[in-house]
């Protein structure tokens, strides 16, 4: 099935991991957080969010635990694993290099 988020897949992973680096969160919270922090610029396609979460969990970057939410409902909380934290650092460095390089190219013309 065609995934509209194919191109930004790596980016979405990065955003999720970064968000979870602060504190464990459920899916809804992650989406809200990304929206708020990016000042409403980044709208997480919510149809892509959950598959991404499940994939990251399968890969061992994040782990999930059921807990009580702020509105007293059963919610699935995701948190970063140690491997995930390491992975995030690596990805972030790479992203910085990439965006820096793109900036350089864009500014030079």
């Amino acid at each position: 099935m065609a995934k509209p988020t194919d191109l930004v897949q790596g980016t979405l992973d990065l955003l999720i991991l970064k968000t979870l680096a602060l504190q464990p969160m459920h899916g809804w919270g992650i989406a809200q957080r990304i929206r708020q922090v990016s000042k409403e610029v980044l709208q997480v396609n919510q149809g892509a969010l959950y598959p991404a979460l499940h994939r990251l969990e399968q890969q061992g970057w994040i782990e999930a635990e059921w807990g009580e939410s702020e509105n007293n409902r059963r919610a699935k909380y995701y948190s970063l694993t140690r491997d995930g934290a390491r992975y995030l650092r690596r990805q972030q460095t790479q992203w910085n290099r990439l965006s820096g390089a793109i900036d350089l190219v864009l500014e030079s013309t």
């Binding site: 919510q46 149809g47 061992g60 939410s69 699935k76």
Partner: protein
């Protein structure tokens, strides 16, 4: 580390699918609630908020599906689904499935059979023997002839004492003995073994015991025998009280001390052993007198087992060093003699060494056959894939990923190859003893060459099966990859789009098949020519009207003098039988496994080059031997009974010897020195072959039996039919001594044929597989051409409407088929030129580029291709132009 997270998750996804799915639903529902709450806060009605929330999450079910996909649950489910679907597809076209499975079964079965032969004959030939992977064959080497030799018993004991890298040294010398039980005399094959034989190999006799260490020593002091399970059942009717009974063997009663377990057939590739006696009984079973205290008597063949972790090279290095020390210590007997170890599959003193090249070639050939089969079945699948183009396109359009389709195709391939692999293993099991059938039988006993279908064969066959699957799935899969959605859907009714590409794929598959089968045809042609050259080689003696047999007088306890009298009486009596022209004895039988006497010689008037020590083989023969064998005496005379111990020692030399030592001068009256005795040359015999047809011309001479050792091999020249001859022979032997019986009768033709067995097996094998390959290639070609004709109906219609005659269309189609064939033959021809060199020594007097073999292979290929193209071409000519154009 990450596996710690991943593994439980995966397991949970698989085995607690329900839980995992409920969790997923809860999670998404939780998300929905928040979204709905937010929309309501923004002022929507609750119904509207819910539908908007659902919308924002994308299609609910699809998200769930994608999450499941991420958890890899679907993979397993898909496999099961594909299996169901695949089986349904195969059952829907049973003809196709049966054909594909039959082809694959042949391909995989041929591979499994050859694997099982290699396993059972070369790699692990001795069932029940422990530590076989570390077992090596041991023989002596002779530097002056750069040939192989035996090892003497004193040397063997010294090697055993001084080597540290081995955990077993086992003497194992094959021999035959006449076994008479009641009135049935039979020659059975047994081994003379060192007393550690059963213990070292971990074989526990089911009755009685193995041998004791002291049974290695004392001249003929331990007449004890362990018999095989088969002998026990067959000749002793499984007598439970057999232990302690005696049996005449080699002319001496032997006490039966043990019965070997069922399934233990001894340690000789080619024959199953029936009994074992200890080394101390050597004199009774190995001709040439008492040898156990003689360091110069080299007769032992043996196996050694390396300690775990010791490499073959280390083992050889140590044993060579010890042999070198023995050489220094005993220069008069050991100078120039070394010791060599061989891996089991190169064992020179049994059939392993001879079968190695044949089985290697067989392995190459069956891999070819497998490739051809895969190409063929791929072709069939391709046709089907094209038929299923619509199905594939629809699935793609409905959102199936291409990887998913590939998985489906591979699963179908896997179903086919798994069924075929199961069938193939059955084939391999049936073919376990097939190799024996290819070997010529020898006087009613067939060889023992069992294949072994063990776990290693299973693993290899599974690998072959997987390889086949990938090869099968690959071509249709590549085809799907190229599938273009819109054009395929649009062109649904037209039916030519993609045809060209498919035709290309199909053509290249046929090309491969033609090339491969052409190579096999060339190979069989070369081997056939070689076999023919071999069979038309003149052995130098008559192969017609001469039979060989033997009479073992040691059974009745004859001494040398009595034996000689008996043999001469028997020869006289036989000559008196109408239809028998002559009869004679020799010590060693021509073309047998027996080893001729051989001696360093000195020749009157011949000055050897410095460092040269001429060594020549010879045979001890009775008067009339050369006449009986049909070897002409070129000058001088043959032996007579007057040539005995009281007269001058004499010899008859052959042509090569006369040429080498007397340079064309007449050698008659000259002298040669053999083992310290001077013999006068009294005749020159025509050159002959002595051990095999492929041996080079070698110097050889004969000495009279009366002046040397007697032998029991009997030759009779007669025009009687074999049955009459046999009756007469038994009658005459019994008339002289009722306790004696002649051995089996073989014609000299059979003896000679036996020496070409390896070539014969190779020809049969390559021929059979070559024919199979040819049929497969023809079927493939037929398929391609039929398809091309069906596709071009409209074109043919146009051509006919424009005035083309039937013969034009016939030519058009056939020339297309021939183009493919020619290309295949050219490619196969180049490959054959390179590969035929691998046939190596199997090619006797035949060049690996023999133009005849290539020409005949081309002819056969072309005829087969013409036949395959003719039916489609003929169908093309039957095209009805009106119908074709309207369609």
């Amino acid at each position: 580390m990450r596996l710690l997270y991943k593994l439980p998750l995966r397991l949970r996804s698989l085995f607690h699918k329900g839980d995992a799915d409920r969790d997923l639903e809860d999670e998404l529902e939780f998300h929905l609630q928040f979204q709905i709450a937010e929309y309501i806060k923004e002022g929507m009605s609750s119904d509207k908020a819910r539908s908007a929330a659902l919308h924002s999450l994308g299609r609910f079910q699809q998200v769930k599906e994608e999450c499941r996909e991420m958890r890899n649950v679907n993979f397993i489910e898909n496999v099961i689904q594909d299996l169901h679907f695949g089986i349904r597809m195969l059952r829907r076209s049973p003809g196709f499935s049966a054909l594909a499975i039959l082809c694959l079964t042949l391909g995989i079965g041929a591979n499994a059979a050859v694997f099982s032969w290699i396993e059972g004959i070369l790699l692990r030939p001795f069932p029940m023997v422990s530590g076989q992977e570390r077992l090596m064959a041991l023989t002596g080497t002779n530097r002056s002839t750069s040939g192989r030799d035996g090892v003497s018993w004193p040397d063997f004991l010294d090697l055993q004492r001084n080597c540290t890298l081995f955990d077993a040294f086992v003497v194992d010398k094959i021999m035959g003995a006449t076994l008479s039980i009641g009135d049935r005399a039979q020659v059975v094959t047994g081994s003379l073994v060192s007393s550690n034989y059963f213990d070292a190999y971990g074989i526990r006799p089911i009755l009685g015991r193995g041998f004791r260490p002291e049974e290695d020593y004392g001249r003929s002091a331990h007449p004890v025998v362990v018999i095989s399970y088969h002998l026990w059942q067959d000749r002793f009717r499984g007598d439970p009280n057999i232990i302690g009974k005696t049996q005449m063997l080699g002319g001496q009663p032997h006490a039966i001390v043990g019965v070997a377990p069922q399934g233990f057939e001894g340690t000789f590739v080619g024959w199953a052993m029936q009994f074992w006696v200890p080394v101390s009984m050597q004199e009774r079973f190995v001709p040439g007198g008492y040898k156990l205290e003689d360091r110069s008597a080299r007769w032992i063949e043996a196996y050694v087992r390396r300690k775990p972790g010791v490499t073959a090279a280390q083992a050889q290095a140590e044993i060579s060093a010890v042999a070198k020390r023995l050489e220094d210590q005993y220069p008069e007997t050991n100078r120039g003699f070394g010791v060599k170890l061989y891996p089991l599959w190169e064992t020179p003193f049994n059939n392993a060494g001879a079968l190695l090249p044949t089985l290697s070639i067989a392995l190459g050939v069956v891999v070819f056959v497998l490739l051809i089969v895969c190409a063929n079945v791929s072709n069939l699948l391709l046709v089907k894939a094209f038929g299923r183009r619509h199905e594939m396109t629809v699935r793609l359009a409905l959102g199936a990923r291409r990887g998913r389709l590939l998985q489906q195709l591979l699963t179908e391939g896997l179903i086919l190859s798994t069924i075929a692999a199961a069938g193939g293993l059955l084939v391999a099991r049936w073919c376990r003893n097939l190799l024996v059938l290819l070997e010529p039988r020898r006087g009613g006993t067939s060889m023992y060459l069992p294949g072994a279908v063990d776990w290693r064969v299973l693993v290899l066959s599974t690998a072959v099966c997987l390889l086949a699957t990938v090869l099968l799935g690959l071509v249709p899969a590549m085809h799907t990859r190229k599938l273009d959605l819109t054009s395929a859907l649009k062109a649904e009714s037209g039916g030519v789009v993609g045809g060209r590409r498919r035709a290309l794929a199909q053509s290249s598959l046929v090309l491969i098949q033609v090339a491969l089968s052409f190579m096999l045809l060339v190979g069989s042609g070369l081997l056939l020519k070689s076999l023919h050259a071999l069979q038309s080689t003149d052995p130098g003696f008559s192969t017609r009207d001469v039979i060989s047999t033997w009479v073992d007088t040691r059974v009745a306890g004859y001494d040398k003098v009595r034996n000689l009298t008996f043999e001469e009486d028997l020869a006289d009596r036989l000559r008196a039988v109408p239809g028998i022209q002559s009869a004679a004895f020799s010590r060693i039988a021509a073309f047998s496994y027996g080893v001729y006497s051989s001696s360093p010689i000195a020749v009157d008037g011949y000055v050897a080059a410095p460092g040269e020590q001429p060594i020549v083989d010879y045979n001890e023969v009775s008067p009339g031997y050369l006449t009986t064998m049909g070897i002409p005496v070129l000058s001088g005379r043959e032996f007579t009974r007057a040539d005995d111990q009281n007269t001058l020692p004499v010899a008859i030399v052959n042509e090569a010897m006369a040429a080498q030592f007397w340079h064309g001068a007449d050698p008659i009256g000259r002298r040669i020195q053999v083992k310290g005795r001077w013999l006068q040359v009294i005749g020159v015999a025509k050159q002959a072959k002595y051990s095999s047809l492929i041996e080079p011309l070698q110097p050889f001479f004969y000495v009279p039996i009366r002046q040397s050792q007697p032998g029991s091999n009997l030759y009779i020249r007669s025009t009687l039919p074999l049955s009459a001859l046999s009756t007469a022979l038994v009658r005459e032997v019994r008339a002289l001594d009722n306790n004696l019986a002649p051995g089996e009768i073989l014609t000299m033709r059979e003896e000679v044929d036996r020496s070409t067995a390896v070539q014969r097996i190779a020809v049969n094998m390559l021929g059979a597989f070559g024919a199979l390959a040819l049929v497969l290639a023809a079927v493939g070609l037929y398929g391609v051409m039929s398809y091309a004709v069906t596709q071009s109906t409209r074109e043919f219609g146009v051509r006919m409407a424009l005035g083309a005659r039937a013969s034009d269309l016939l030519r058009l189609v056939i020339s297309q088929g021939m183009l493919l064939t020619t290309a295949g033959v050219v490619i196969g021809g180049f490959a054959a030129v390179v590969l035929s060199r691998l046939l190596g020594y199997l090619l006797y007097k035949t060049s690996p580029r023999d133009p005849m073999a290539f020409a005949i292979a081309t002819l056969i290929m072309v005829v087969a291709a013409l036949a395959a193209c003719f039916v489609p071409a003929w169908r093309a000519t039957r095209t009805n132009p009106v119908q074709a154009l309207r369609a």
